[in-house]
């Protein structure tokens, strides 16, 4: 009886020893030499693996950053300057600080502004809808409202507003990873400068139809009249294909264009509420700060 127990223990212990030796030698032989800095860099990354930097995940980014000669082409939009400073400290590189960005939905085709012309009955995916037809309104450029961007956002920064039918960006959660920009088949979402204290001005429309057609489809459409471009002192506004665009690197936030726009297509957000004097131009901004 005792001998059986002893034998059992001996055989099992021997087996364990043998196998651990095998494992030890295999681990030695097949060890992959890696730059230890990759681990260090990865440790300071946000760890969202969102792909916003252009790499498959945080480790791929760390690997690329370590191998690159400088950090000019590698920037983590989610971590922003803070994380990049840490990365630069580990690698001994200089960083170019970037202004924080935020996703902006450039469509104000709410159910009210842009009446439906048909009922979409296919699967609830912007991609499917966009490949099928122009959409359930008369505007073939605007938001399709199926929420592909909402599904793409890992940070819970996007949600569909049920009354407007449009996605809304939560600025505090948005990391500007750009997943929603890629997900939107209509290229409506753009990453723009967050602006000082979040203040920014943008054209909330991408409709390239002629003014009459665009206006007929949506009362909040940019009609490409060019009034904003004329009034702009910093030459930030261009009108191309019947739609105005504000270059955020040039815009000085004077808001003259906002007052000038006949359809209210230009939105200003996060500006402090002024005294009653300048009130009329600011009606829509609260709900449309996406």
């Amino acid at each position: 009886m005792t001998s059986t127990i002893i034998w059992t223990i001996a055989i099992l212990a021997g087996l364990g020893l043998l196998l651990s030796l095998v494992l030890f030698f295999i681990a030695k032989k097949f060890k992959v030499e890696e730059d230890p800095r990759i681990d260090e860099v990865e440790a300071v990354m946000p760890g969202a693996n969102c792909g916003g930097c252009g790499f498959a995940g945080c480790r791929a980014f760390a690997d690329a950053a370590v191998k690159a000669p400088n950090l000019d082409n590698n920037y983590c939009p989610v971590g922003g300057n803070e994380v990049m400073k840490k990365v630069a400290a580990i690698l001994g590189y200089e960083i170019k600080e970037k202004a924080p960005m935020v996703a902006v939905v450039r469509c104000n085709g709410t159910c009210e502004n842009r009446p439906k012309t048909n009922i979409y009955g296919g699967s609830s995916s912007c991609k499917v809808k966009a490949s099928l037809y122009a959409g359930d309104t008369a505007c073939p450029y605007g938001c399709l409202g199926c929420g592909d961007c909402v599904n793409a956002c890992q940070f819970g920064a996007l949600s569909l507003d049920e009354t407007t039918g449009l996605p809304v960006v939560d600025e505090t959660k948005c990391t500007a990873c750009g997943a929603c920009v890629k997900a939107c088949p209509k290229s409506i979402i753009e990453l723009r400068n967050k602006g000082p204290r979040g203040m920014r001005v943008y054209v909330s429309c991408v409709n390239k139809d002629k003014g009459v057609v665009a206006r007929k489809a949506c009362s909040a459409a940019c009609i490409g009249c060019g009034k904003c471009a004329k009034v702009c002192a910093s030459e930030a506004i261009t009108v191309e294909n019947n739609v105005a665009y504000i270059d955020f690197t040039k815009c000085r936030l004077c808001k003259k264009c906002v007052a000038e726009c006949p359809t209210g297509a230009i939105h200003d957000v996060n500006f402090p509420v002024l005294k009653p004097k300048a009130a009329p131009v600011e009606e829509k901004k609260e709900e449309n700060n996406g």
Partner: protein, 319 residues
């Protein structure tokens, strides 16, 4: 202008839906259920009702409160599970044991995997096997049936039970016609082969299921039984006995053909059926349990993902 629907093609849909398919399965089970109720009386009805109702309620509760996705609830599918579970239990099973079976079937075997379409193992069989292992006394206890019309039947253990204990010789003189219409002892799903086969034919005609899996099981069982019976008729029972007794017909027609837990392709189904048939015969001949249909199907359920990977449909224009 009025607003019209716009959606991608196709613009029409076949009439079959998940609930209509499950409804067909319930219909197909009705003859066997009717026979069992006539044979066993109100006690059988109680088992059926408890099992069916608790399965549906448990599924509804889990989809509503645990998943928080009430749209996932498919009552007809849970009803089928409930009926099949009941048909695998003796009519004397106490209601609380039936309820535990239902809880295991729906709660553990189905919902933990993600609900309808996600489970690896047949829920009704998991429930049944759980009860068989946990409450062997209730599960192998066969009383004299008190039929509604006082139909007489043999008392004592089931035929397979007798064979397991006393060998093939103990069933000498058995009239196979009896087993075709009214089997003796056993659960609701073991009584009438004919009623079950009628349901099976109905399902095939309605194009609810394909017959290949079932036929493959029958063929395998018949061939293996024939070979062993030739070798030693005294020890091994013959093909007719093995086909007609026990839960083989119920298992082959209704449990093995469950969409979710069976292979998709025709040839995959044939291999799956062979596996079940083979395991059933091995358990019956050499195992310690008299019956092995449940175990055989569950074991083959585990192999289904592999079979699905190995057998793909023949593609058009590709050699």
């Amino acid at each position: 202008m009025e607003k019209y629907i716009v959606s991608p093609s196709p613009h029409i849909h076949a009439k079959q839906s998940t609930s209509s398919l499950m409804g067909d399965v319930v219909l197909a089970l009705l003859p066997a259920i009717a026979v069992s109720v006539v044979f066993y009386g109100w006690k059988e009805l109680l088992v059926l009702a408890v099992s069916a109702i608790s399965c549906v309620v448990i599924e509804w509760a889990i989809t509503k409160w645990l998943f928080k996705k009430p749209g996932y609830f498919c009552g007809s599918s849970a009803l089928v599970t409930g009926l099949l579970l009941a048909m695998n239990l003796p009519y004397t099973t106490p209601w609380w044991v039936v309820f535990i079976g239902a809880l295991v079937a729906i709660g553990v075997a189905k919902m933990t995997f993600g609900g309808l379409g996600q489970n690896v193992f047949n829920p009704a069989l998991v429930g049944r096997v759980f009860l068989l292992v946990s409450f062997p006394a209730y599960m192998t206890h066969w009383e004299i049936p008190q039929g509604l019309f006082g139909v007489d039947a043999i008392t004592g253990p089931t035929l397979l039970g007798r064979v397991a204990e006393n060998g093939a010789a103990s069933i000498e003189g058995l009239n196979y016609w009896d087993t075709l219409f009214l089997n003796m002892g056993g659960s609701a799903g073991e009584i009438s082969a004919l009623a079950l086969l009628a349901g099976f034919v109905y399902l095939v005609c309605r194009r609810v299921i394909k017959p290949w899996i079932t036929l493959s099981i029958f063929a395998t069982v018949a061939i293996i039984a024939a070979i062993f019976h030739c070798i030693d008729p005294a020890q091994f029972t013959g093909p007719a006995f093995n086909l007609l007794t026990g839960g083989l017909i119920l298992g082959a027609c209704f449990m093995a053909t469950d969409y979710v837990t069976s292979p998709m392709s025709t040839w995959g189904g044939v291999i799956y059926g062979f596996g079940i048939g083979f395991l059933v015969m091995m358990i019956r001949y050499f195992g310690s349990y008299p019956e092995g249909v449940s175990f055989a199907i569950l074991i083959m359920n585990a192999v289904v993902p592999l079979i699905n990977r190995a057998f793909h449909q023949k593609k058009f224009g590709r050699a």
